[in-house]
Symmetry: C2
Subunit: 469 residues, 2 copies
């Protein structure tokens, strides 16, 4: 029998207005499912507060009623972290102001509901760069990026979301507001509260605003697609590029032919820039904020040396912005181009960079030993040690039969990751999808400590219950 | 009446050996006081465990006996954080192994007791840079650097200690060992435990090892001392240098004539590289890991533009390594050269970089209004918004009379810092010295949350009690 929440709904309506308390199933539908349709949630209501004070009021009312709260940003997560299993969904979508731009301090103060692309634009308008960049940037919100410690394609140079923020404002599970919206580069006044909420996936509180770091805008770039024999050659090349281009190496992505072929077959307008077929490719980009830097020359010098060392077979350096964009398009279409090929079993993993080549070789071999017709499509942020180790089903196997092997492949891949001191979730988080895997692989003392922190900050388990822990 | 701790001492002796449980006052003396003699502590014993397991054994025994533990590294802290008020001091000085060097992953795994200079050397031997650099690097230990989130002269480019570490090993207040010694650039498997212990000043546990990040070694640098009118001109120059030299600007330090004059008067071998006297100076350094970078030319171009814009009066660019070192020496002798001038009232503060010039002007004026003969010596990490806002006593005032004004000057300076959204402790921490100030200025919800975390992790208040909170 469903509980009667009408008293709570009435109080929430008083607090933030009837227009912003959605209870009609039609109005709620879009926020109950996630992108890929893996989860369908249920919720009493969807709350759309318009300010930090309104968020705090909602949290106080829900806490008093013992009703769970699922914070939700752009709802673009990949691990079911924003899916509600009862309780209310609280979305920050109405809180989308750029609160302050301080170009001299190189900071931007933003509401949690700001869409990432709008923040990138605001930085650009201020003559600076906000480097976080990922596939869903057109719809994901910075609050979600913060709560999941988002990664993406700029981590090699600029770090994860965690490295791009100075201060936070957070509504705690009892409705208190933590004001730590500082824009300071140095601040040692007690415990680091900020990083507790970054990456906590909304289980410790609701981030309502942040002070973000801006960086000098790159004004020149050199972009190359390079062909090589496989992961060992790619690692040698990465080591060379980092040694020679330290300050400017901003991208080092890896993809094997199988995955590239899917892009060529399915992504509109993508063509192979090389005459011959090669086993693997690296997308490399150098960037600089100094227009005088001759990055193409640097790239050529490094690649010539790599040719001579036998590390690479061919290379295409983008001669125009359009050509550079075309090389990037090959990378950007990797995920979606795997869909037409049927079901895919995905792993978002990382290992130390020194082991990334061994990992690819070992994990591919182990997966193929289990299923010889499997089509492994490893690709991703090689320079971060982070691979999207995706496995496309055999050509003639049906999706359901293949997906039934998900747990088996998880075990194969995650065991190897664990043996190599790696992580079973590099950038997507834990959410609901990886809770059991987390318990299996995480240091038991770390798990205990996480639970102690959760109990201390959210003793009633109001905030996004059933996620992470 | 002194409690009898002989049973505990016997158990500790069993656990780590009699040679490493110091109880003789003569043996203990050096670790009971801190450098400047501001505090003299008392302790039951000094423990020198030789391994993580021995640290854990000591902690378990002390916890069972209800005896407090003060973790101590190189004992170079400036806020009394390592001074014991009873209980035992646990020093990591015997734990000084470089556990692992992984040049490809650009990481170094080290025991907490490694001296910073030795870590710098190990990085150098591996062809890389560990950038943390500060005055006490010859004797401070990395465990202390971690526990205080150390800053120093390389923050502008490389960040604080927090930004230079990937993984930690920590002995918790109940003796459990948290193993999070990962060397991963991307890892989103639950709460960020690492940053909880970094900067906690030993109040949440004892850091026993860390995985540190290495960086490409700079191979070329350009170093300049620039004369200007004061903070506003320096801020304009900083903005210019950052815009033009983004990737390479690694140092932007500020000093006013008063402080520089003390160096010229007291530091052996230091001479003024300019013919005329100027109100203020900036030490600027560009560095690059790319030997082909023409940094001197970049520096000249930027400084020429600054001349034309009226931002600077004179500049000296170091023509040789010896000349560059001589310019650095002027900066490095600032602190010690203030000592012969009599008592000094010091503030380690930060504000947003956009307000650093206003802060200097406002705070100097307010201090001089209170004491017209005061000799303000503001200097420090201008590009980080972090100033050592030191005040030397009037020439003809005695030290004691001047130091009696410490609380008054604290109030003047810290009130201005607070009004400018700044921090009352940029890089030195809270320890004992700034506990009361922290309570005055910190967001009350942040203070409550810090106390909740302390109670959750160290409910018996065993770890470094009376510090920070």
């Amino acid at each position: 029998m469903a509980e009667d929440h009408s008293a709570l709904i009435a109080k929430l309506t008083d607090a933030i207005g009837a227009a912003y308390v959605l209870t009609d199933p039609t109005d709620m539908a879009g926020r109950l499912v996630e992108d890929r349709g893996l989860y369908t949630g249920t919720a009493i209501a969807i709350l759309r507060p318009g300010s930090t004070e309104e968020v705090a009021a909602c949290v106080r009312l829900c806490a008093a009623a013992g009703v769970a709260i699922v914070p939700q940003g752009g709802n673009t997560g990949l691990v079911g972290g924003g899916v509600a299993n009862g309780g209310v969904i609280l979305t920050t979508d109405r809180m989308n102001r750029i609160r302050n731009v301080d170009a001299t301090n190189a900071t931007l103060t933003v509401d949690a509901g700001c869409i990432l692309a709008n923040i990138q634009q605001a930085a650009d308008d201020a003559g600076a760069l906000f480097p976080l960049s990922l596939a869903s940037e057109g719809s994901c919100q910075i609050g979600g990026n913060l709560s999941t410690n988002a990664g993406g394609t700029a981590v090699l140079r600029y770090g994860n979301m965690r490295d791009l923020v100075l201060g936070l404002e957070v509504v705690l599970p009892d409705g208190r507001v933590l004001n730590d919206l500082n824009g300071l580069r140095k601040n040692n006044t007690g415990y680091d509260l900020r990083n507790l909420f970054i990456g906590a996936e909304g289980t410790l509180g609701i981030i309502t605003a942040a002070v973000l770091k801006l960086f000098p805008k790159p004004v020149t770039r050199a972009t190359a697609l390079v062909a090589c024999d496989g992961p060992q050659a790619a690692l040698a090349l990465y080591t060379r590029m980092r040694a020679q281009n330290a300050d400017t190496l901003s991208t080092f992505e890896y993809v094997e032919r199988m995955a590239l072929q899917m892009v060529l077959d399915h992504a509109h307008g993508c063509t192979d820039p090389m005459a011959e077929v090669h086993p693997a490719y690296c997308l490399i980009e150098l960037t600089s904020a100094n227009a005088a830097d001759t990055l193409d020359a640097r790239m050529e010098t490094a690649l010539e040396a790599a040719f001579e060392a036998g590390e690479i077979h061919d290379a295409v350096i983008g001669a125009s912005e359009a050509q550079k964009d075309a090389l990037w398009a090959l990378r950007e279409h990797l995920s979606e181009s795997q869909k037409p090929e049927g079901a895919s079993i995905k792993h978002d993993v990382s290992v130390p960079v020194s082991r990334v080549a061994d990992f690819i070789t070992t994990a591919k071999a182990a997966c193929l030993a289990h299923m010889p017709d499997l089509r492994p499509c490893p690709f991703g942020h090689f320079g971060d040690g982070n691979l999207h180790f995706n496995l496309s089903r055999p050509v003639d196997m049906d999706d359901a039969t293949f997906l039934a092997e998900y747990p088996t492949f998880n075990r194969i891949v995650h065991d190897i990751v664990h043996q190599m001191d790696g992580s079973i979730s590099a950038e997507h988080g834990i959410g609901q999808v990886k809770r059991a895997e987390l318990r299996r692989y995480k240091d038991p003392v770390a798990l205990e400590l996480m639970q102690q922190l959760k109990s201390a900050i959210d003793p009633a388990n109001i905030m996004n219950p059933g996620k992470v822990l």
